[in-house]
């Protein structure tokens, strides 16, 4: 879901006005929100109901983790593997929270909502507003987070209903749309050769261990590749 954010940086210094913050937030929210169609379809293809698929987007609300959970189940994995994969992909949100907490400074229920909308997009837009000051950063965070939440859920419902109407997932290519979505989520993260090597190594590792482990476990096991590459300073 991080993809369009990289482009935001270019416009940051142009005009320090809240209108630009609003424009950044809305364009990200709408673009990323439409990816919800792919998640809705993936949820149905994995065997979840329309209600369950929509609850993922409402309650889990962190794209890559949602895709991971339904992906593990679609691969025939167990519930524990699915939840573990989703949680591990979501750990970066805790690091975003560390950065956003001193900025938003809210208590009680609003703090829970702030935590819920602390994702790639809201954090990136907030940080991109740094030259416009803390007020713009806060606006960027709330507008982007709420906007993605709104559109992501609407488009998840549309995707789920659409996929259910289509029937057999393979007949419409939905079974290939899911790995393609993973590749599309992975792609913008591969910003240098080291990260590309990590990605290719993880794929080779997953292929090698697949015949030896239960379905879904190779996905979790691939974290060992991340540990191996991240262990020592480069």
């Amino acid at each position: 879901m991080a993809r369009p954010l990289i482009r935001l940086g270019k416009n940051v210094n142009v005009t320090p006005a809240p209108r630009d913050t609003l424009r950044d937030a809305l364009s990200v929210a709408l673009t990323v929100g439409t990816y919800g169609v792919a998640f809705g379809a993936a949820g149905i293809a994995a065997g979840f109901s329309v209600l369950q698929t929509c609850l993922f987007s409402l309650l889990t609300f962190t794209g890559a983790s949602q895709f991971a959970a339904v992906g593990v189940m679609a691969a025939g994995g167990g519930a524990l593997s699915a939840v573990a994969a989703a949680a591990m992909i979501g750990t970066r949100n805790a690091l975003y929270g560390l950065q956003m907490a001193p900025l938003v400074q809210v208590k009680g229920f609003r703090r829970f909502f702030a935590a819920h909308i602390t994702i790639d997009e809201s954090t990136a837009v907030a940080l991109a507003q740094t030259p416009r000051g803390p007020h713009a950063m806060r606006s960027g965070f709330w507008l982007t987070g709420s906007g993605v939440f709104l559109f992501w859920n609407i488009f998840t419902l549309l995707g789920a209903l659409g996929a259910r109407a289509l029937g057999n997932p393979a007949s419409w290519g939905l079974d290939a749309a899911v790995p393609a979505a993973f590749l599309g989520l992975l792609w913008p993260r591969l910003t240098n050769n080291f990260l590309r090597v990590v990605a290719v190594s993880s794929m080779v590792f997953a292929m090698l261990v697949t015949p030896w482990l239960s379905a879904g476990v190779p996905i979790i096991a691939s974290v060992l590749v991340a540990v191996a590459f991240g262990w020592r300073e480069r």
């Binding site: 393979a170 749309a177 393609a180």
Partner: protein, 104 residues
Amino acid sequence: MSQTTAWVVVISTSVACFSVKLLGYYIPEGWLAHPRLQRVNALVPISLLSALVVAEGLVVKTRLVIDHRLAGLGVALALLLAKAPFPVVVVGAAVTSAIVYHLH
């Protein structure tokens, strides 16, 4: 997948992911500051997403399989190299895979 399993996954995933988000708002900053933890954490999504591409595109249960999905993935890769936007990549892969599936 049984309905019970599906509900367990939906609810547990949501609880786990929300707890992780909330953690960021309640723990002292120093706890996650260890450089090794930060380095590994930055790589975890890359490893998991890579493994998911394999698990979803090349695997049936515990066997590596080459089928219509690989054709879709190939087109997805080509579209990404051509800097196509995400929805185009996903739809391109789906259409290709469906065509190969029906030709078979």
